[in-house]
Amino acid sequence: MSFISIQDVFFSYDEVEEGKPVRNAVDGVSLDIERGEFVAVIGHNGCGKSTLAKQLNAMLLPDSGKVIVDGDDTSVEEKTFDIREKVGLVLQNPDNQLVASIVEEDVAFGPENLGVAPDEIRRRVDEALKAVDMYEYRTHAPFKLSGGQKQRIAIAGILAIRPQCIVLDEPTAMLDPSGREEVISTLLRLNREQQMTVVLITHFMDEAVLADRVVVMDSGRIVTQGTPETVFSQVELLKRHRLDVPQSAELAYKLRGCGLKIDKIPLTQEDCVAMLEEAMR
């Protein structure tokens, strides 16, 4: 069985009231995530990405359907603790996640709760802070940090738990270009070197192209999924769902519209340059 198995999940925030239409934020999603996979989830604002993410570590429970994490049903209360140790969720707004008054205490919070030994906590906290390049801020107060700095502390807090799977809800939304690159390459490294399963929710298409698999959501449902190559070659479909493609693909797509023969839409800068060089030689 898959590491995480989402089976026909429905979820609604609305109370079931008479006369009030119930709208499902997650409206029948089935998705299997394999151990060691890097999955990107994209979709327009309000399509249910965060709501789905919160089902993965039992922060929210399905109204119907099931989420199974490493064999355990998230709706079984005794398993919540185990599940949160395995699946770490970095929330969309870091302010909702920062709890302590000093950065390193904040990062230590997760492992402390799990009963990790103090010297091991120390090691993990330092490592996590270095991974997000915030080590020099370890004695600062989180609420006094800039937006992007808070975002990185929130990520460090989850890394320190050393989960088998890390789910990140728009972790790079507030980061500068090199910060984004650092976070993404940290995730790729954790994924490749430690086989950490990564679920990345993002509005940046140039980040999604780096995943093994891209899942596209709309109105609480999955509308398509596949390798970045298959998903990002469906430019019209993506635009219909309020999404986009990286600039390299956009350019290629426009040129193809004028008759340029392109076998494979380039998803990265390098591929695009190679494609154009080929075409103009």
Partner: protein, 289 residues
């Protein structure tokens, strides 16, 4: 008066005299002309938000002055509220700006304080909601029940409804879906063109800034590192990467082609520009219809 904002040796230090003393803004001097569209970029923690919050008197500069229409905004501290109507600020985290029971009342809040009422207020609220792409059905919801992107739109609408002379947007497109970004950016550009108001847009998206800004403020470690026209800033890619920044992907692609000896223009900033430049070259090679 041609110049709307003038910053003179502006500086700000957080926690002065404490062990955590942090100089966030360091001796920034610059002038912004009326009606300009200014992009603001810089690494996280470079002082962008601190600088922006000094522009409308939310933070009082420790050093230097902010002149709005030629007058120091702190000349009469009691009147600082008026400055906040003239310089409308959309915060980096919209949650901080939403506190009313309904989205409608939230959007109305600033405009109401400015003195709008009745039909004029209602129109300002609905226009602003429409402008940011908020569906009318959401106006009666609690702002806390909105998705991340919807909250952001509500916060922006609240400031737009005040029709400020200078509109400061601190990362307004962060967290928006691609079409939302696109729509909001073109709405802001339209707003700028139609109202001739001055706009300052802070963003980490080099692609967005490249498309809309006339001039760019580049912050680095609290200091003003560059303040130049957009093309000039993105010509200096190596310098930008030292500041933790980048040039747009499309600019890089075109530069790489130039380096490989192809006759494409320098300083291409958008996909459309690149497309226009490449068409004739591909046509010459007989690669198009």
């Amino acid at each position: 008066m041609n110049c709307v904002l003038e910053l003179k040796n502006l500086g700000f230090v957080y926690g002065k005299g404490t062990p955590f003393e942090k100089r966030a803004v360091d001796n920034v001097s610059l002038t912004i002309k009326r009606g300009e569209f200014i992009g603001v970029i810089g690494h996280t923690g470079s002082g962008k938000s601190t600088l922006m919050q000094m522009l409308n008197g939310l933070m009082r500069p420790g050093e230097g002055q902010v002149l709005l229409d030629g007058r120091d905004i702190w000349e009469q501290p009691k009147k600082i509220r008026e400055v906040r109507f003239k310089v409308g600020m959309v915060f980096q985290y919209p949650e901080y700006q939403l506190f009313e029971e309904t989205v409608y009342r939230d959007i109305a809040f600033g405009a109401k304080n400015k003195g709008l009422e009745g039909d004029a207020l209602d129109k300002a609220v609905r226009d602003a909601a429409d402008f940011t792409g908020l569906k009318p059905a959401l106006l009666d919801k609690s702002p806390f029940d909105l998705s991340g992107g919807e909250k952001r739109r509500a916060a922006i609408a609240g400031v737009i409804a005040m029709n400020p002379e200078v509109l400061v947007l601190d990362e307004p497109t962060a967290g928006l879906d691609p079409m939302g970004r696109e729509v909001l950016l073109s709405q802001i550009t339209r707003y700028h063109k139609e109202c001739h108001n001055t706009v300052l847009l802070v963003s980490h998206s080099m692609e967005d800034i490249a498309r809309v800004a006339d001039r760019i403020i580049v912050m680095n470690k609290g200091k003003l590192a560059m303040f130049e026209p957009t093309k000039e800033v993105f010509r200096r890619g190596d310098e930008l990467s030292r500041y933790g920044l980048k040039v747009p992907q499309i600019t890089n692609i075109m530069q790489a082609l130039r380096r490989r000896g192809f006759d494409v223009p320098e300083g291409v900033l958008t996909v459309d520009e690149a497309f226009d430049a490449l068409l004739p070259l591909l046509q010459k090679e007989g690669k198009l219809w």
